[in-house]
Symmetry: C2
Subunit: 162 residues, 2 copies
């Protein structure tokens, strides 16, 4: 089990969009070049973000994407779920129902005990992702990335932002 690479792509793109001056748009083409990703396929991930209302898009030349909310109001979980879906990472197929000892018409009162544990862990995972926002990420990146690279990247992006 591993998250799609589109999740990674979407997070990096959101980090860039979060660093953009408010109101500016950045195109799929620029985001793909910046990260060395296939433009057409990255586009699918960005469309996912758009459908989840995390970003807004505009058409035409100088078109592209910008965040639809403030960076502090978008969590890692929002982005992950926009791309990966909201389904839990453990699917209970209720195989206990196949137990040949079960009387006819036996009906379970609640979800399987195993599923409850797995879903509990899933929720712990989501809680962590929910607790970190794009604003938090920006703060970390500013500490992580050498100022020179931060500045040159910012210039590269602004030159392409509509």
């Amino acid at each position: 089990m591993i998250l799609k690479s589109q999740v990674e792509w979407a997070l990096h793109c959101c980090a860039i969009l979060a660093g953009l001056p408010s109101g500016r748009y950045l195109s799929t083409k620029a985001l793909a070049e910046l990260h060395g990703l296939p433009k057409e396929y990255l586009s699918k991930a960005l469309q996912g973000l758009s459908q989840a209302k995390l970003v807004e898009s505009t058409l035409g030349p100088s078109g592209g994407y910008r965040l639809a909310l403030r960076p502090a109001d978008i969590s890692f979980l929002d982005v992950v779920e926009a791309v990966e879906g909201k389904e839990r990472t453990f699917a209970c197929n209720n195989i206990r129902a196949n137990n040949p000892c079960r009387p006819e018409g036996f009906c379970d009162t609640g979800p399987c005990a195993i599923a409850r544990v797995m879903w509990d862990a899933d929720e712990a995972w989501r809680a962590r992702l929910r607790a970190v926002s794009l604003a938090d990420l920006l703060g970390t990146l500013e500490k992580d990335i050498p100022p020179a690279l931060l500045r040159s990247t910012s210039e590269w992006v602004l030159k392409r932002a509509g």
Copy 2:
């Protein structure tokens, strides 16, 4: 992203094995029938548990599997990792390295800030799974399952246990 169904199968099988009187073995065939699963493929999951030293096997008629440790000493995480592998659920492909603004020979000092958040969430997920043992599961099941079904299933299993 979703866990393999083999994880679910392995957990249910471990629950049964944990309920077995000490020293008794139960075959793949019996476990497959009990849960309505394809015997040959379930066998692969059980072999994973065996390689992880969570269960022991014995050959020949009346052969099968039993737990290699006490139920209290086997966690959900042990079982999940035995089947699903120990790799983290988020793979960092370090796409930041593709940034065209990077100077030649630039070298990152540590893991990507995005990966750190994702790995932190992954660890929270594992911590929850690590905190629940097969003994805990047995306790829950005894409360969940009607005594009659618990007893009939136990008899069904014992009739087939070598």
